[in-house]
């Protein structure tokens, strides 16, 4: 009786592995594109050629050209660096900061824990982008400020995960053993707590990449992120919005780039979650 169950599990695991390889490769291709974007662009993304402006997609210019005659394909490729880098930077900042606060709160406890957790409650009480809009508004535009704005609303989630994980790790027998054998605070945190809690945190941050990319592009679209002429997908779309009726390829091609990248990162995030969690592996 037990044999068929075993076989099913094996098949499921293999599909997760295949998915992991496929989507991991796709994400790696995106990253390589953004690293080597200078060498991949067929034209200079900032070179204006007014005699060649607003040409429809052709063999020479796959995505056409914008109102200054800049090649859209080159601009979309060049934009991948700004968009993907800033998203990954944002996710890294939020993960690191949230984890530090969470581990500190869980480990230390007491009034500092209460204060920091109440502060994170305050941030969670604001509806999503509303607070980010305000922060970006106060700090003024610019990619750096958009990253700060989104980081400000995203860290509490990570702090909470890290805190609850730390609390449960504190109760484990191996941590008590480590404490009894005289390990120092830092050794216990870095050797016993962090390696055990980092899994769920990293899964959460992988799942968040797509959303963060959309939010960052959204802020840029509103003019609160990267500023033209910098090639960034969100700001490229808002910059060329007036051309939507007559030259839709100019406005829509960066949108498709965002869509495809977000999709790849979402697929990768889902797969990593399934890979990390055997329960999900079975139900999906």
């Amino acid at each position: 009786m037990s044999e068929p169950t075993v076989r099913i599990q094996k098949i499921k695991k293999d599909t997760v592995k295949t998915r992991l390889i496929v989507f991991g490769t796709l994400a790696a291709i995106l990253l390589v594109c953004s690293v080597f974007c200078e060498y991949l662009t067929p034209y200079d993304p900032y070179l204006q050629d007014l005699s060649n402006a607003k040409t429809p997609p052709s063999a020479e210019h796959l995505f056409g050209t914008d109102r200054y005659g800049r090649d859209m394909l080159s601009r979309v490729i060049a934009g991948s660096r700004t968009s993907i880098y800033s998203t990954l930077l944002l996710v890294a900042i939020v993960t690191a900061f949230g984890t530090c606060v969470g581990v500190f709160c869980g480990w230390h406890g007491g009034w500092i824990d209460t204060v920091l957790m109440r502060i994170s409650d305050m941030f969670l009480a604001f509806p999503g982008l509303v607070f980010a809009l305000a922060v970006a508004g106060v700090l003024g535009g610019g990619l750096q400020n958009a990253i700060i704005a989104l980081a400000a609303i995203s860290w509490p989630k990570y702090a909470r995960i890290a805190r609850s994980q730390t609390l449960s790790q504190k109760e484990t027998s191996w941590l008590k053993a480590a404490k009894l054998s005289g390990s120092g605070t830092w050794k216990m945190i870095f050797k016993h707590i962090l390696p055990n809690i980092i899994g769920p945190i990293l899964v959460t941050s992988m799942l968040d990449i797509g959303t963060m990319m959309m939010e960052l592009a959204g802020l840029s679209f509103l003019g609160l992120g990267a500023k033209p002429p910098t090639a960034e997908w969100g700001s490229m779309m808002s910059d060329t919005r007036s051309l939507l009726a007559t030259h839709p390829w100019v406005t829509l091609s960066p949108g498709f780039a965002i869509f495809i990248s977000v999709m790849i990162f979402n697929l990768l995030g889902d797969t990593i979650r399934d890979y990390a969690d055997p329960k999900n592996r079975m139900s999906c």
């Binding site: 409650d121 604001f126 999503g128 809009l133 305000a134 970006a136 999709m263």
Partner: protein, 313 residues
């Protein structure tokens, strides 16, 4: 139950104080910029004029004094005047609020109409072709930034097919179609998954197998038991997603020129009109906190387990 309600309302007070304090502190840090902004383009301005303006705006008072007087004013509906237009901030905000609430309500309605039937359909046909198609669509919807959906809809419905005006002219139902659709597409994609997961979880419970064994038809089980008990979670999840909707309207409103508070906020941010941004942040947060509170209370009132459990005590 009453004890719980009172307790929840008391818990609300520190949260509201925190929200107002955070919004105030943030804007006050930027507040000095407003003076520079006001006189920055007018060449050399004497220090006396700047000081006078500072005193007029109350920027020379200590920080906490400023906060308390601002909070008192806020409770009376006085949030100062706009730096740009000189109009009353609270009045401007409340005049734009109905348009946003209308848009939010329409989007929620459309989300329910789209995602509840589809989510149930996907759950019932678990791991069949239709489930895969619906999950795929929800995945696509989840990966589409809402401003991109807005532009795609604009291109398709307004420019190609010419069914609708490109830009909203007034808050009419016809011009509400595209913004509503945009917001509902993004929300439905997320929500459909949640509905599917909730119904699926309920379908896997033992009583369903029991009912099937007794020969109750699947349709009857679904309608009489499964949907009834999943509704609670479905309503709660919907109410919780209102928060992301309130934030999301800003970008959509400014794309479609929908004259609500979201567009007002984006315009104010562009013009650095801090009192208006402040009003937007504070009131949106308060609305959101209240919506969450009422959802929680509704959940408790609707769930017989909790309701009866509490009244027994």
């Amino acid at each position: 139950m009453r004890k719980y309600v009172i307790q929840r309302f008391l818990q609300l007070i520190p949260v509201l104080l925190g929200i107002t304090f955070l919004s105030f502190a943030m804007m006050r840090i930027a507040g000095s910029d407003a003076i520079t902004e006001l006189y920055g383009n007018k060449g050399a301005v004497s220090q006396e004029i700047i000081d006078a303006k500072r005193a007029e705006l109350g920027l020379d008072q200590p920080f906490l004094t400023q906060y308390i007087s601002w909070l008192g004013g806020m409770l009376r509906g006085d949030m100062g005047t706009s730096y740009v237009s000189g109009k009353d901030v609270f009045g401007t905000f409340t005049s734009k609020l109905p348009a946003t609430l209308l848009l939010t309500a329409l989007s929620i309605l459309m989300t329910v109409v789209i995602s509840v039937p589809l989510g149930v359909l996907a759950a019932v046909n678990h791991d069949k072709l239709i489930d895969y198609i619906l999950r795929f669509l929800s995945f696509i919807g989840n990966s589409l930034p809402n401003f991109f959906v807005a532009l795609l809809l604009m291109q398709l419905l307004a420019i190609k097919l010419k069914w609708l005006p490109v830009i909203a002219n007034g808050t009419t139902l016809k011009s509400a179609i595209m913004p509503t659709l945009t917001l509902a597409i993004a929300m439905s994609a997320k929500y459909m998954r949640q509905v599917r997961a909730t119904v699926l979880e309920e379908l896997n419970k033992d009583y369903v197998t029991g009912a099937q064994a007794r020969g109750v038809r699947n349709r009857v089980i679904l309608r009489r038991s499964v949907l009834k008990s999943s509704m609670l979670t479905i309503i709660t999840l919907l109410a919780l997603s209102i928060g992301s909707l309130l934030g999301g309207t800003a970008i959509i409103e400014s794309i479609f020129m929908w004259d609500g508070v979201g567009k007002l906020a984006v315009d104010s941010i562009t013009m650095r009109d801090y009192p208006l941004i402040q009003a937007y942040v504070v009131w949106m947060a308060i609305i959101y906190v209240l919506v969450n509170l009422f959802t929680d209370l509704l959940y408790h009132a609707l769930d017989p387990r909790i309701r009866l459990g509490v009244s027994k005590e």
